[in-house]
């Protein structure tokens, strides 16, 4: 699988937003719960569109949700 330098704070943001469940977030952004699980675990890097949708679901800027480790650039 592709090297993944992307980390995220989705789990933290879910709990900060009224303990939102993975299923609720999945329904809000239009993906399956499995995809949210994979993103949270860092196993899957979402598309830019989905990343923006997730950020919008939390009413947060995208850089507060996803962080890119660019130490190798």
């Amino acid at each position: 699988m592709a090297e993944n330098n992307l980390s995220n704070k989705i789990r933290r943001l879910r709990f900060d937003n009224g303990e939102m469940t993975q299923q609720q977030l999945a329904n809000k952004v239009g993906v399956t719960r499995q995809t949210i699980i994979a993103i949270e675990a860092g196993k899957y890097a979402p598309s830019l569109t989905l990343a923006f949708r997730i950020a919008k679901a939390f009413n947060t800027p995208i850089d507060q949700v996803f962080q890119y480790d660019n130490s190798d650039i």
């Binding site: 699988m1 592709a2 239009g30 993906v31 399956t32 196993k43 899957y44 979402p46």
Partner: protein, 149 residues
Amino acid sequence: MNRQQKIALLQLTIIAIAAILSVINSVPYMHKHGYTFSQAWWLGSGWPVVFCFFGVVLAPLFLRKKKGQINFDERDLIIYRTASQIGFGASFFFFIAACATLWFAVGIDTPIPAYWLGRFILGGWLTAVTVHALTTIVCYSFGGKDGGE
């Protein structure tokens, strides 16, 4: 486990059952009727292959989509495309391997029966379906690469 994984598992199960049934069905042709392994396999795998074909093709119908729920998203699409590409590649490899094997086994100038072409097509299709199902299961286990196109 989502619908795609269940379909892949069902297809692999059907293929495995068909393979076992083919072996069980072929043995009497070899021992009682004295056919060679190749002939016995061809005769014995008849109805199991038909069962396998319809089982694999109809597998998605047995596992219906859940209404009012998102069943397929960008990650599923990426995994589906990856599995399709690897499955197609494997079937192409099967055709090359089958042709090369024949080349060395029966020689360049020896004609082969036309029904062997059916075997090739069936083998290629089975290879594609098996590899597609295996890749689907493996990709879901490891996350499914990156999104974004």
